[in-house]
């Protein structure tokens, strides 16, 4: 049964989504433009594509054939019209269609990002709660100190340290690669279903997730300490509830809203910033593909990767906006009221 205000809210929702979509397209176009402007400064792809015997005339011919001599506007327009149909051209370096290349590398990055995101959330919340409840004990002190290392050490160094300890010295875990992979469906290659695949995932996931974990842990700890001081916790205790119920049922539950928001938004960063982790561990994802492409001035791959990352952020932001709209009743009521 629809009330009048619900109908209004529905159409309002549609307008909201449409407005957001238009904004997203503008953002994507802007990213494409900025990326294209930057490519003019990464150098000449021809230099890495041909052997040293190639004559200057042949180089010039090749540049012409690839359209590198066209004016900026023409190159950009060509790129956008082709990209709109999902055609990002062919990689200068690997001679494969860019779309196919990126799709084949994407599962590796997404699995890594997801596992490290989940691990960061679980351990972050766990450690955060523990250190909030056990202030002053030695283990909390140790965790807090160790977490400082997590935020202050660069990812590259953490990765190399982990490799040194767990792969070289202890020889427990592999130092590089993704282990054995199997296909789910036609193109999703997963390492999660094989033992070597899971073993290979551990070190990169820790490296990538350590910063996020520290962030979440400190956030949870601060929020917990805040909430534990509030009146309703005192009342809960006064009602004679067990510590467990107070800590987890009342305190933790109320700290989680900001934590979930942060974790969601961080997922985008994890995907985007997996570049370093992927390089250190020779993880065959899109980040490593991007770095190799930059070295080779493989413009089609660089362009497609930047568009993909922009898309990830745009989609995540869109979902977050929609969730806010759905979750926060005040937003809807305000809008509905202004109509009357």
């Amino acid at each position: 049964m629809l009330t009048v205000s619900a109908v209004y809210a529905g159409s309002d929702m549609l307008a909201f989504i449409l407005r957001r979509l238009v904004q997203s397209v503008i953002v994507m176009l802007t990213v494409a433009l900025v990326a294209f402007a930057l490519f003019r400064f990464v150098g000449d792809p021809i230099a890495s594509m041909v052997g040293q015997e190639t004559t200057l005339a042949e180089r010039a011919e090749m540049r012409e054939a690839l359209g590198l001599n066209d004016p900026f506007v023409v190159q950009f327009a060509k790129f956008v019209t082709r990209a709109a149909t999902g055609d990002f051209g062919i990689s200068y370096r690997l001679q494969q269609p860019v779309m196919e290349l990126i799709l084949s590398r994407l599962p590796a990055t997404l699995e890594l990002a997801l596992v490290s995101g989940v691990a960061a959330f679980v351990f972050g919340v766990g450690f955060g709660v523990y250190t909030a409840l056990n202030r002053g004990n030695w283990l909390s002190g140790t965790i807090m100190t160790a977490s400082l290392i997590g935020v202050s050490l660069p990812t590259f160094l953490i990765g190399v340290l982990l490799i040194w300890v767990f792969a070289v010295e202890l020889q427990w875990l592999p130092s590089f690669g993704r282990g054995e992979t199997v296909y789910i469906g036609n193109w999703w290659r997963t390492g999660l279903l094989t033992e070597s695949g899971r073993a290979s995932l551990i070190l990169p996931a820790i490296t990538l997730g350590l910063y996020q974990m520290t962030l979440i842990m400190r956030l949870v700890r601060a929020e917990m300490l805040e909430v534990l001081r509030t009146d309703y916790i005192k009342f809960a205790r006064a009602r004679g509830l067990s510590n467990r119920a107070v800590h987890f049922g009342h305190a933790l539950k109320n700290t989680l809203v900001p934590v979930i928001t942060i974790t969601g938004l961080q997922l985008g960063s994890i995907i985007a910033f997996s570049i370093i982790t992927e390089t250190v561990f020779q993880w065959p994802g899109v980040g490593a593909l991007f770095i190799n492409s930059v070295r080779f001035v493989d413009v089609p791959v660089m362009a497609a990767y930047l568009m993909l990352i922009a898309l990830v952020f745009v989609v995540i932001n869109l979902i977050v906006d929609l969730l806010y709209y759905a979750v926060d009743p005040r937003l809807r009521v305000d809008r509905a009221n202004t109509r009357h």
Binding site: V42, A47, L94, W172, R295
Partner: protein
């Protein structure tokens, strides 16, 4: 935490098991041996002619074969050709005798038709090999074992250009629509990028670009079976990870060992390092003909003055660069060509200690007693420690009052500067795949015109010398030709067109018990691997 079994122990266990089995069953002759081989980058493509690039050739040499091979000492060896020479009737024709009984991986026989097809494909654009075959006019099969290559003129060294030109199956290429090498601009992937059908000692089993490539020994190969029966090739970009993978026993051979890790790896139990000279020398050069330099405060062009060029050669301390920058891993030399290249002499190689007093005098004589400033362009990701070499030179030239402003950047920005004559002073490395001085002259000394002088960033132009260089290409009397090469080098060294630093040294690190020599073109062959 999940425990991965100690790979070394597991391997030793396997080998012991195999040894025990061999004792019981004497009919077992050879153990299956896998080599896990890591280097910094992957082959760009499996297409045999598309890219003229080191790592691509290195991997393809295992799958495809060339007419002639290059031995570790740089000499030519038989491969798919058993004999070659210039025709006695016509000095413009090269005659190749093709090996009989060679099979492709798909089981078909290799014929002279395949050889003709492959040479034609390699010399037709957009093949990356075309420049090496520019002088070829026609390739014909004369009989079942003979192929004639007709050149536009006498080409006494043409066979040297064939060491990376692979032979592929004509029928297979036609069946899969890859009669010409893949075209970047065409926008689609060719079948030959990830599929192969060669005659080489190994067959491609799995190709996962930039992740893993697996090769298995081809049983019908014409030569003796190699000791290595399986190759697992994995690119590992990050230097620290590459070394760690060797130390943890996850790979057996690391081809690109970072200079700073060589000494440490040598002292590690269970790891050995082999070294050898690479076919690549590193040198500085400068614009010595323009009227003035864009990046300099000096009046006129100081590099045009022979005194300034001599002063710079007296200021550079090659031994210090070797010891401090290269940690001993280089061969300091004044000769602007690698030692095994035809034309190299001990005299060109020799250099004295730096003499700053004399250098200062020369600077004053040249009219620059207070020195001058100039920008040095340098790549930072192309050669071993390239940027550090340039930094060292900045300090050395400061002692004779040349203020050098260092501009180190990625190779894709650096090389166009040389190509477009936008640099006054630059670092360049040069390999000589033909192992003959003519290659150096053609690209670095000859005036820039047509296919000549494309890397001549010094703008040096000497019509008399150009004539001599062009004459080299068609001289069939090799003694006379060598004399002319020496004559040209005398002039080049006299003019100081190049300020050479050193020859690069290659180092491969491997598990103890594996024997592999350094290949001068950095193209190690797993067929040459032996086990203790």
């Amino acid at each position: 935490m999940f425990m991965m079994p100690n790979l070394r122990t597991a391997r030793a266990g396997l080998m012991m098991g195999a040894a025990a089995a061999a004792l019981v069953l004497t009919s077992v002759t050879a153990d299956a041996e896998t080599i896990r081989w890591a280097r910094v980058g992957d082959a760009l493509t499996m297409d045999p002619h598309s890219q003229n690039e080191g790592p691509t050739h290195t991997l393809n040499h295992h799958i495809y074969e060339t007419l002639v091979g290059r031995a570790d000492d740089g000499s030519l060896t038989q491969r798919l050709a058993t004999d070659w020479g210039i025709s006695e009737e016509d000095e413009n024709v090269w005659v190749f005798t093709i090996r009989e009984g060679v099979k492709f991986h798909d089981g078909s026989d290799m014929t002279v038709e395949d050889v003709v097809f492959s040479l034609d494909r390699a010399r037709t654009p957009p093949s990356g090999m075309a420049a090496l075959h520019a002088a070829v006019e026609e390739v014909t099969a004369v009989d079942d074992t003979t192929v004639h290559v007709r050149m536009s003129g006498p080409a006494p060294l043409y066979v040297q250009n064939l060491t990376n030109t692979f032979i592929m199956s004509k029928a297979w290429a036609e069946a899969n629509g890859v009669e010409t090498s893949p075209n970047f601009a065409a926008g689609e992937e060719a079948h030959s990028v990830r599929n192969t059908n060669g005659t080489g000692p190994y067959m491609l089993v799995e190709r996962d670009p930039e992740v893993r490539t697996v090769l298995r020994a081809f049983e019908d190969h014409w030569a003796d079976a190699p000791e290595v029966t399986e190759i697992i090739y994995t690119p590992i970009t990050e230097a620290a990870t590459r070394v760690a993978a060797l130390l943890s026993g996850e790979v057996d051979i690391v081809q690109d060992v970072p200079v700073q890790d060589i000494a440490r790896l040598e002292q590690t139990d269970g790891i050995s390092v082999v070294r050898g000279p690479e076919n690549r020398n590193i040198f500085f050069s400068y614009d010595m003909t323009s009227d003035s330099l864009a990046s300099s405060n000096a009046d006129g062009n100081p590099f045009a003055s022979p005194e300034v060029r001599e002063a710079m050669s007296l200021a550079i301390d090659r031994n210090a660069i070797q010891q401090v920058v290269m940690r001993g891993e280089s061969q300091p030399s004044a000769a602007p060509l690698p030692p095994f290249v035809n034309g190299w002499t001990e005299d060109m190689h020799a250099f004295g200690d730096p003499d700053l007093a004399r250098a200062g005098e020369l600077m004053a004589e040249a009219g620059y007693p207070d020195g001058f400033s100039v920008q040095l362009d340098c790549p930072n990701d192309r050669y071993l420690n390239d940027e550090s070499i340039c930094q060292a030179l900045v300090g050395m030239l400061a002692r004779i009052n040349i203020q050098v402003d260092l501009n180190a950047q990625t190779r894709s920005l650096h090389f166009p500067l040389i190509e477009n004559w936008e640099t006054d002073f630059y670092l360049l490395g040069w390999g000589v795949p033909t192992f003959d001085s003519q290659y150096v002259f053609d690209f670095l000394v000859h005036s820039r015109e047509g296919s000549y002088g494309s890397f001549n960033g010094s703008r040096y132009s000497n019509p008399e010398l150009d004539e001599k260089i062009q004459a080299l290409a068609t001289m069939t009397d090799l003694e006379e030709r060598d004399a002319l090469i020496a004559e040209i080098w005398d002039e080049v060294m006299e003019e100081r067109i190049f300020l050479n630093v050193h020859n690069q040294v290659l180092a491969y690190a491997m598990r103890d018990g594996i024997n592999l020599d350094v290949h001068p073109e950095n193209q190690p062959r797993m067929t040459t691997v032996t086990f203790d």
